[in-house]
């Protein structure tokens, strides 16, 4: 299958290793990966912070860039939620019937990475090997936005060598929330402290998720506390194999 990657602006800039892992994983599974260089940002930060007008050209750009793509893979649930939940309304409000139709046609072709693997490709065992004690953090957008349920966990359970431990209070927000982490830094820190306690109590070495945004926040706190726990995007665990090593 030909899969078009929307890496997202922050993964592109801050977490290239995640994008590389997605490419390695999908190619290993026999798919062709395409990366349109015109892509930038879905507009989520603008939209959620109240700059909805500024987000509109970014939506148009996204729709334009991915118009031809058959299957679009996005390794970030919050960006998928932005597109699914808000693009239709934004298009409608623009009063541009052509745009409304284009968004409508685009949505069924968009998949978050774990969704793509399990729902579209019908896979749970992707042949990964990762010999670490791992706990999974369900980001709010993956849980309540995309309703992924246990999809990411089903993938993780099939990873060889993994010691998967359950994170208590898995449905509780870590306190990132985009610009919330800066605008309400103190409350965000209090939420982070609770999440870190839960992560540390699992004695996992690795905390994983389908969103690098939450992980950047959780890891930021864990590293400041010198907790000795690292965070790794799900794509990197799934891309790791015994033969090729960790992604």
């Amino acid at each position: 299958m030909r899969i078009t990657l929307f890496i997202t602006c922050y993964n592109d800039t801050l977490f290239p290793e995640t994008g590389q892992a997605v490419v390695r994983l999908l190619e290993r599974l026999g798919h062709e990966v395409v990366f349109p260089l015109d892509q930038t940002c879905c507009g989520q930060m603008h939209y959620n912070t109240g700059y909805q007008r500024e987000a509109v050209p970014l939506m148009k750009r996204f729709v334009e860039t991915f118009r031809e793509a058959e299957t679009i893979c996005i390794p970030s649930s919050s960006c998928v939620a932005m597109i699914r939940d808000h693009y239709p309304l934004m298009a409608e409000e623009s009063g541009d019937a052509e745009l409304v139709r284009a968004v409508e046609e685009l949505l069924p072709r968009i998949y978050e990475l774990s969704e793509l693997l399990v729902k579209k490709l019908g896979l749970e065992d992707v042949g990964a090997y990762y010999a670490h004690r791992v706990t999974y953090h369900a980001s709010c957008h993956s849980l309540r936005g995309l309703q992924l349920g246990d999809i990411p966990l089903r993938l993780l359970r099939k990873v060889r060598g993994i010691d998967l431990v359950e994170l208590p209070n898995i449905d509780r927000c870590c306190g990132f929330g985009g610009t919330f982490a800066v605008k309400n830094g103190d409350v965000s820190a209090a939420m982070l402290a609770e999440k870190m306690k839960d992560v540390e109590n699992t004695t996992a070495e690795v905390c994983t998720a389908v969103d690098n945004s939450c992980l950047m926040h959780i890891f930021g706190g864990l590293h400041r506390a010198r907790a000795g726990v690292k965070t790794v995007h799900l794509a990197q665990i799934l891309a790791s194999t015994e033969a090729e090593g960790e992604a």
Binding site: T13, D38, G50, Y51, F176
Partner: protein
């Protein structure tokens, strides 16, 4: 956003109001304990109600339908309520509502009133208005009594004194009730309140209440409560004055079957709360002889006019969104500046209350969506929060605000591939003053809030797209 009349309530922006609360270890423990307890109970009784989602769908549809025909349902209520012996008053804003209530109290010659917990009277600051005119209001809900005697402010919609523990409550009661002795078990404290209030229930001639539901079809009013103080206030006085937001009307008696199943389970985690009262106007030899309802607008019609936030008016004040909210969990209710705390407060207050810094409230959320998931009437609170943020930006932020400038600049950057790539390069090169050994530990300005508690990896040398381009080139060469 809407500017309400009268003097605005003093309040700090949410992020500032939160600071002392975050440092109050006792308060945070109390809030965690209370919200965890209610949530655990809620979880059990929601699970056994196998048609929960169908009930939510029905409730949300009934509310949407009612709001769409609000003028008809309100006038229908007015007509039937009047026919049943009641008197309807209309109030455009808080001041007018208070004037009406005070006028009625004076007309009936009252110097005291007994009150059931009434969110709308908190909203209009009725107690202040009554006291200024020499009328003493007695709060009769146990938690409201604790708040009133403690000269405190409510911190939760359903359990307003959850931030106080038994020792703190005992001190308040000893001092304010003039008691010499008092145990500190909840039973002892409750018994003290029972004694303190019983005499007032039997003596005071005027009751003031809110209303959970107004029934258009019958002109009936429904109040849901636990302690029996509500029934006391509804049946013992000669005069009853109920203040209700115009959104509290529902079309039919039958519709109650939906809300009476959703509200108790959502609010206190009970299958049914101990008492629901439904009554219609005045009844022969049973309850008050005079019954007045004050229908309050106070900004609600402007919410009604805003297509995207209209759903705010679905709210049945169950507080499930507070109990599940990870932000509320850290701060409790006082950070929200009014008695509408938590997620619902974050959307309701800025649209209705005349409160300083109310525009900080739509930002007091990580948009985690837990509130939407539990809301029994399916208010998509995150969606409304985002919408209100948009209104704050468009209506209140100057174009020269640093955040606005930054956001516009970012939007321009994302508007072109080349600008985006240039910005990636610039950030990478420009970050050297803040990077040490591959880590960023202190950022300037607003971003300092990030590095206050979090480290950050330096921006890597090669963004993903550079790696991709390089790989493409290599592959092309090989081919």
């Amino acid at each position: 956003m809407t500017v309400r009349v009268g003097e605005s309530a003093r309040a700090l922006p949410f992020q500032k109001a939160a600071l002392p609360l975050l440092d109050d270890a006792q308060l945070r423990k109390n809030v965690r304990h209370a919200t965890d307890t209610i949530q655990r109970k809620r979880g059990l009784v929601v699970a056994e109600q196998t048609d929960w989602q169908e009930l939510r769908t029905a409730a949300s549809a009934i509310k949407r339908h009612t709001l769409k025909h609000l003028d008809t349902y309100l006038t229908q209520f007015e007509e039937r309520f009047t026919a049943a012996g009641g008197v309807v008053h209309w109030a455009s804003d808080a001041d007018e509502a208070n004037r009406i209530v005070l006028g009625l109290v004076q007309q009936y010659g009252g110097k005291e009133v007994i009150k059931i917990k009434t969110m709308t009277s908190d909203e209009t600051r009725l107690n202040e208005a009554l006291e200024q005119a020499g009328v003493h209001p007695y709060e009769t809900d146990l938690a409201e009594l604790i708040i009133q005697l403690g000269h405190d402010k409510p911190s939760h919609i359903v359990v307003p004194a959850l931030h106080k523990n038994r020792a703190q409550i005992r001190e308040i009661f000893l001092r304010e009730m003039g008691l010499k002795e008092l145990g500190n078990r909840p039973e002892d404290l409750t018994a003290a309140a029972r004694r303190f209030l019983r005499e007032k229930f039997l003596r005071v001639k005027i009751g003031v209440s809110g209303a959970n539901f107004l029934i258009a079809e019958t002109g009936g009013v429904c109040i849901v409560e636990s302690e029996g103080n509500g029934r006391m206030c509804l049946t013992m006085p000669e005069v009853l004055i109920s203040m209700a937001g115009i959104e509290k009307v529902i079309p039919s008696f039958e519709d109650l079957e939906v809300f009476l199943q959703l509200l108790p389970r959502s609010a206190t985690g009970e299958r049914m709360n101990p008492y629901n009262s439904i009554w219609t106007g005045t009844h022969e030899d049973d309850g008050p002889k005079h019954f007045h309802v004050v229908l309050l607008d106070n900004g609600r019609t402007s919410i009604l006019a805003d297509k995207e936030s209209r759903q705010t008016l679905h709210c049945i004040r169950c507080a499930a969104c507070l109990n599940t909210c990870p932000v509320y969990r850290q701060t409790g209710g006082h950070a929200y500046g009014s008695s509408y705390a938590g997620p619902i407060g974050a959307i309701f207050t800025p649209q209705v209350l005349n409160m300083e810094h109310a525009q900080s409230l739509p930002y007091a959320s990580s948009l985690c969506g837990a509130c939407y998931e539990v809301c029994p009437v399916k208010i998509n609170i995150p969606e409304v929060l985002i919408h209100l943020r948009g209104r704050v930006v468009r209506e209140q932020k100057s174009a020269l605000d640093p955040e606005a400038l930054g956001m516009k600049a970012m939007a321009t950057v994302f508007g072109s591939r080349h600008r985006f790539e240039a910005a990636q390069r610039l950030a990478r090169v420009g970050q050297w003053p803040v990077v040490s050994h591959g880590w960023v530990r202190h950022l300037p300005g607003m971003m300092g809030n990030w590095t206050a508690v979090r480290d950050m990896k330096a921006i890597p040398d090669q963004p993903f797209r550079a790696w991709w381009k390089q790989r493409q080139k290599k592959q092309e060469k090989q081919a």
